[in-house]
């Protein structure tokens, strides 16, 4: 039998709630949908295997944003996120997360996921800066997925692994009607009719090309190719603030997190070549990334993570955490290069660009119930617009989505859709398999991502952006007429290449629309270097109107947690350069 041979086939199933993406938000959404209504039929569909999929595949070092009574309040957290995000947030959704996340922590604790506790059994929350205390380490973070999977099996949830969702089915009445998926090993089709659909497909992590040139050497889990963003777009849902890119500090070449959040509470920090800390900004934000980027470009680069001032005991403790959980290959990478935390500093860099609300604010627009702008369609986790939500946000907002979708599905029937849509999608998907010769998906992908780096990487120059748009159009033409997939696995990559190209186009379109600079490095325009609150204190909503990509403004909802000028001042004072 030849490898991953293409099989002709199509199966139809239906369910009350369909969850797409079984990484972090997805399993929680499915679990909660089922718990809310045990009679509901819930399907969890995953491109990889739920056991080890998503950003938390190997586990996590800790919670970055735990709002735990006694350490921080939901209002305080909401204010800080609002400020870190330059004011453009849907506060209701942030506040709701902040209010509910503690109960999710307690629930995860019961599932057997370990959070660091002190000798009195209380959560050992670490203070990283004086504004709020939100970091909760997870010494056994490598068991996260195992514990979640256990819960899913316990309620005998329907799990469908190795299916890549390609498009949503649109109901004639404007509601969502289900989704189309393709098996990644046989190319057989699966049509899932559903009353409610929850998108949990993670970040668009394969957008920029890592400096190493290796397509899969991304910061994000490389399976997260932005399919969720593309599907939401084609189904008519609005996407918010895509120009607020994700760019993260990371270990150069390894391209994984250095985890200042882990090492920070132990006393490690990021320095320039003078061994001095240089980041003025207190929040993980585009402003922080701008300072990082400027230092790299200046005579004070490279930038390092510094631990060698710490005591031997402390370093061993940090190593045992860092090299076991999250990205365990980190230790191997350092060993290859002979890097030892005791003597050497670790060279840092900034990541390629991507979309991700988990770390930034670019996602499918959702309200405080995780509802998108399409009735019956929900989104949670890195791909939904609740900013800076990280892992706990994926869990909490996944839970919110699951419960609401379960209720929604109770009161409605299946939406009717046009069967022609399925026929058309089959043609689109299978086209590359019908060619005798052509361009392989990896070359389509490489070229797209190379242009993303060449033209879209901030600082944003509009002339370069327009050039990028014409290059993307050429690649699209080649993709639609000449891409070839010789087996089911190559077809998986071909489908991903198409999502990546859609995301590249969206990144360009929304960045050109917002004619100001905001969010530090994330949206730094050379032609509009200043922030323009008068005209741009609003969300950018990108959507598909009459088959075309259109951006519009959406007002920021009135704040539920007011922010007084004093507080803003404290923050802006942090940004003043040194007097020396």
């Amino acid at each position: 039998m030849s490898l991953d041979k293409i099989v002709d086939g199509l199966t139809e199933v239906d369910c009350d709630v369909l969850v797409i993406g079984g990484g972090t938000a997805g399993p929680m959404a499915a679990l909660k949908a089922k718990m809310k209504n045990p009679n509901a039929k819930v399907i969890l569909l995953e491109k990889a295997n739920v056991k080890r999929s998503g950003a938390i595949s190997m586990g996590m070092d800790g919670l970055n944003n735990a709002v735990i009574p006694g350490h921080a309040t939901p209002e305080q957290y909401t204010r800080e996120i609002t400020i870190a995000n330059d004011g453009i947030v849907n506060q209701k959704a942030v506040l709701k997360y902040a209010e509910q996340c503690y109960s999710i922590i307690q629930e995860l604790d019961k599932y057997g996921i370990r959070f660091q506790k002190n000798e009195n059994g209380d959560f050992d929350v670490k203070k990283v800066h004086h504004l709020g205390t939100y970091v909760l380490p997870m010494p056994n973070g490598d068991t996260v997925k195992k514990a979640l999977y256990r819960q899913l099996r316990r309620v005998q949830l329907l799990i469908s692994n190795r299916y890549i969702a390609t498009r949503l089915l649109q109901g004639k009445d404007g509601r969502v009607a289900g989704a189309i998926a393709v098996n990644t090993r046989t190319a057989e089709f699966l049509i899932v009719k559903a009353k409610a659909v929850i998108l949990c497909m993670g970040a668009a992590g394969r957008l920029g090309l890592p400096a190493s040139g290796y397509l899969f050497g991304t910061y994000e889990n490389a399976a997260n190719s932005g399919d969720g963003y593309a599907m939401a777009y084609h189904a008519g849902a609005k996407l918010a603030n895509l120009e607020c890119f994700q760019i993260n500090p990371l270990i150069k070449d390894y391209n994984g997190p250095a985890c200042a959040y882990v090492a920070g509470p132990f006393g490690a920090y990021t320095v320039n070549n003078e061994d001095a800390r240089f980041i003025e900004c207190d929040y993980w934000s585009g402003q922080m990334m701008l300072e990082f980027y400027n230092e790299l470009q200046s005579g004070k680069g490279p930038v390092y993570l510094k631990l060698n001032h710490l005591h031997e005991n402390t370093i061993s403790e940090i190593e045992s955490i860092l090299h076991k959980v999250e990205r365990p290959s980190r230790g191997q990478f350092h060993a290859n290069r002979g890097t030892d935390y005791r003597g050497n500093k670790i060279e840092m860099h900034v990541s390629e660009i991507g979309f991700c609300s988990g770390h930034s604010a670019s996602g499918v627009f959702v309200d405080e119930f995780a509802r998108t702008t399409v009735p019956g369609l929900y989104a949670a986790g890195d791909m939904a617009s609740v900013p800076h939500s990280y892992m706990l946000g994926a869990f909490t907002n996944g839970s919110i989505a699951g419960q609401h979708a379960s209720d929604f599905a109770k009161d409605v029937d299946f939406a009717a859709y046009d069967p022609e849509d399925i026929a058309r999608e089959r043609e689109r998907v299978l086209a590359p398999t019908r060619r005798e010769d052509g361009i392989p998906p990896n070359q389509i992908e490489y070229k797209t991502r190379r242009f993303v780096n060449d033209y879209l990487q901030p600082p944003k120059v509009p002339q370069k952006y327009r050039l990028a748009q014409s290059r993307f159009a050429e690649v699209r033409e080649d993709m639609e007429t000449g891409m070839i997939a010789r087996n089911a696995h190559e077809l998986l990559r071909a489908l991903e290449a198409s999502s990546i190209l859609d995301c590249a186009d969206m990144a360009a379109c929304s960045s050109l629309f917002r004619t100001e600079s905001r969010w530090g490095l994330y949206h730094l325009r050379t032609d509009y270097p200043g922030r323009d609150d008068e005209n741009w204190f609003c969300h950018t909503l990108l959507g598909k109107t009459d088959g075309r990509m259109i951006c519009e403004k959406r007002a920021v909802d009135p704040y539920v947690v007011p922010i007084d000028d004093d507080e803003k001042d404290i923050y802006y004072r942090q940004r003043i350069e040194a007097r020396a």
Binding site: T184, G217, A223
Partner: protein, 77 residues
């Protein structure tokens, strides 16, 4: 344009002596998020079929016989 095969050095190494794929084990193939591992028709052992690795390590950690090793992909080593 016709296609050619370009050689590439893949990061995953499997010790065929230890691998029990021939007894029905598919753990590494199951857990890989990038779906790049397969069981060989020729040897009945696991191997890396596609050079598309995120060096995340579930394959190595979950292998019941410690047969599998992931190296850092050459390009970013």
């Amino acid at each position: 344009m016709p296609l050619a095969n370009t050689p590439t050095s893949v990061p995953v190494v499997v010790d065929n002596e230890k691998c029990i794929a021939d007894k029905g084990c598919t753990v590494c193939v199951d857990v890989c998020p990038l779906d790049v591992l397969r069981i060989s028709d020729l040897t009945n052992k696991a191997y890396m079929a596609y050079d598309e690795c995120w060096y995340c390590l579930p394959c190595q950690c979950d292998c019941p016989t410690a047969a599998l090793t992931v190296n850092i992909p050459f390009l970013l080593k």
